[in-house]
């Protein structure tokens, strides 16, 4: 009985955090009216989409014991690629596939370099961060890439406040989260990711092709980052090579707040999604409170530290 209570607490930690943050913004008179409305949550969900999809890929990478610092640049590059293809008259499905593929290609470069050169993911992806950002600016000729219109533009819109339906992006993120969660928990590929992150030596000893696995993880994660780039494009309605600077840190923060460990082997998709939501709710609430952006940044920074500290406290107690 006692043990089950502990497990429930250990598993629902991030969820309790989310409820606390929502409660915090529901109480003050400035925000009480509007904060807890369906429309506001529609906006919050929509604002979460890009970080959430990025966090799907990042969760796989972090659980495998890796890290990817090049996500923001990858999103910028793929959104520029998407904008250029629309300019050239490609249809939305073709653009979708091409953008995902270009994200996967960057993942392939990252993964091959990490596995093949046996270098730490931190260094390789720090390098890719610069390479991808520079390539985005080069491709875009150092300016935004504009196009007339595209069906893509409607995928992230919350323009009609009276419509009850959620934008396409939110549904895509939800379905992908469900699929990725199943992938991580119930497939050989997913269990091998945990094995790799928990102890690479054991994985190798047990006959897992660790190099190929690493490359696969970065490629798949890259596809998610490409998709996030597409939604970035849909949101801005133009390809901007300077967009999403530092977004990888938000994504990593979401995964960590969600209970994943940077040393690998631990993490859940549900946790990461809640982590992404916590950050979006914090942003949204702070804006409605009329707090300046620097104040939001300070708060989010502190939340990351407190979340990980509480997590360690909880883990310590669970182990005792």
């Amino acid at each position: 009985m006692h043990a089950t209570l502990k497990t429930i607490l250990a598993k629902s930690g991030p969820f309790i955090g989310l409820i606390l943050v929502i409660a915090f913004f529901s109480l003050p008179t400035e925000t009480r009216e509007y904060f807890l409305t369906y429309n506001n949550f529609k906006i919050i969900f929509t604002q979460t989409v890009i970080v959430a999809i990025g966090a799907l890929g990042m969760t796989m990478i972090i659980v495998s014991g890796g890290i990817d610092l090049s996500v923001g640049s990858t999103i910028a590059l793929t959104s520029v690629v998407g904008a250029l293809l629309i300019q050239h008259g490609w249809g939305p499905i073709a653009v979708l596939l091409a953008v995902i593929a270009s994200g996967g290609l960057i993942g392939l470069l990252n993964g091959s370099a990490i596995a093949g050169l046996r270098m730490t993911p931190f260094i390789i992806t720090l390098g890719t961060l610069g390479v991808a950002r520079g390539s985005a600016k080069w491709l875009a000729d150092n300016q935004t890439v504009n196009y007339d219109s595209s069906p893509l533009n409607s995928w992230m819109t919350t323009a009609n406040p009276f419509s009850l339906t959620l934008p396409t992006g939110v549904w895509v993120a939800l379905v992908l989260a469900l699929l990725t969660s199943l992938l991580l928990r119930h497939t050989v590929f997913g269990r091998h990711i945990f094995a790799l992150g928990s102890n690479e030596a054991t994985a190798r000893l047990c006959g897992i092709a660790t190099k190929r696995l690493k490359i696969l993880i970065y490629v798949l994660a890259g596809c998610f980052f490409g998709l996030a780039g597409l939604f970035q494009l849909s949101r801005l309605r133009q390809g901007d090579p300077t967009v999403a600077v530092g977004l990888e840190l938000d994504i990593i923060a979401a995964v960590i707040i969600g209970g994943a460990s940077l040393s690998g082997g631990v993490g859940t998709i549900l946790g990461s999604m809640i982590g992404a939501l916590i950050m979006a709710v914090l942003r949204n609430g702070s804006q409605q409170m009329g707090w300046p952006t620097y104040f939001q940044e300070i708060i989010i920074g502190l939340v990351i530290i407190v979340a990980v500290f509480l997590d360690r406290l909880r883990q310590g107690r669970a182990a005792a």
């Binding site: 050989v188 091998h192 945990f194 054991t202 000893l205 047990c206 897992i208």
Partner: protein, 510 residues
Amino acid sequence: MTPAIRLRLTGLQKSFGATRALRSVSLAIAPGEVHALIGENGAGKSTLMKILSGAHAADAGTMELSGQSYQPENPHDARLKGVAMIYQELNLALHLTAQENILLGAESTRWGCVDQATSRARAQTALEQLGHGGLALDQKAGDFSIAEQQIIEIARALLLQPQVLIMDEPTSSLTQADTEKLFATISRLRAQGVSIIYISHFLEECSRIADRYTVLKDGETVGSGAMKDATLDHLVTLMTGREVKDLYPRTPHQPGAVVLAVKTAVLARFAGRNVSSGHGSSVQPTCSLEVRAGEIFGLAGLIGAGRTDLLRAIFGLDTLTRGEVCLIGADAQAATPRHRWQQGVGFLSENRKEEGLMLNQSIADNLTLTKMNTFGRGGWVQQNRQQRAAQHWVDALRVKCRDSAQTISELSGGNQQKVALARLLEHPAQIFLLDEPTRGIDVGSKAQIYQLVSELAAAGKAVVIVSSYLPELLGLCDTIGVMCRGELTAIRPRADWSETDIMRAATGST
């Protein structure tokens, strides 16, 4: 005249939540006495040591050091009061020099700066007290051998002139020769009047080096006395609470056809080190062996002689510079761990924590990692099937745990090792490569693993065991080969070996 008592513990109790780690522990040690503390894993030895070294406080009971009440507030306080501890895992800063390590936390300073001359003299004195005055003080700790690192650690403990020195499993990573040197060191300290609490799973060692013993079981002192009056059987019976009539079972088995052969293999680490061929020329050290189905083949030798290298090379974790590994009905070229598992070869790592197991994953995941794809179709893992498979071995091997979903780090060493071994059974392997399968685990689990290995051989599996513990090899194996400096020098049936013969072959002094 009765000798004065240096340390006396009376009725110590300690609980962690609902777990009673110590129920009633009493112990008395005279000055200049080596006192063996014996007990299975979980008997309360670690808790007792933590209380003695000041990491925990006892709930009840008294401790007296040289007649004074002894209540250390923390490990530093314990050191100042005269109780020093040497842990099983060495605690050295590998990038600092030997001298810096010895003086760590007790540096001689002058106006806030390290006083080099005094520091050096103090470190030198401590080393000379151990009979190792020649150790290079300016060399980085990481560049010393494990045995030398241990000397550095002991020197650090001696710096504050302790009255009681606690050594936790000091020989678990030492070779036989280094163990001998350590014993000489212990005898020296004993002659200087230091009281030593010696904790070890190796009962033969305890009976050689200790004057007296205390046996703990389930947090209680169940026996103590003079070592010379105690037989090993008696100690084992006290520890386990049951008669262990025969630690090494001999299930009858008949070796069959050769299933594994290594032909003139040159291990990568030894490729450059030529040995004399006896005809004036020199050749590379080689290893050749044949293992039959239903045979238990032991590999003896000093640590670093290449036993682990050979096992890893057979399994495809290391590459051979020359020579080949042949398996019955298998492609010799396909030599990666992945292929080896497919060919029915299983490997148990000597390093359970760093290589053998994924500590923060479940028992089920650890046990079935080599064959995840067999628990469902199309890359899907049906967790109930996986857990059923794991539960079978948990029950069969009596692994103490809640269920197969429990995280492996929460288990004791012996139970962890059973899970690591069960991975080979579940796969199932036909050829078992076991590297130090009983290192650091309790007698009960050891006996179980011996029984298991014997049954495997009876069932026609081939088993290769690397071990530094000679009684184990002599008790268990059909054939024993000895390695020395990368060369497999002699292979004979067990009956033709004695411990002395093996040590001679292992040290190259034939």
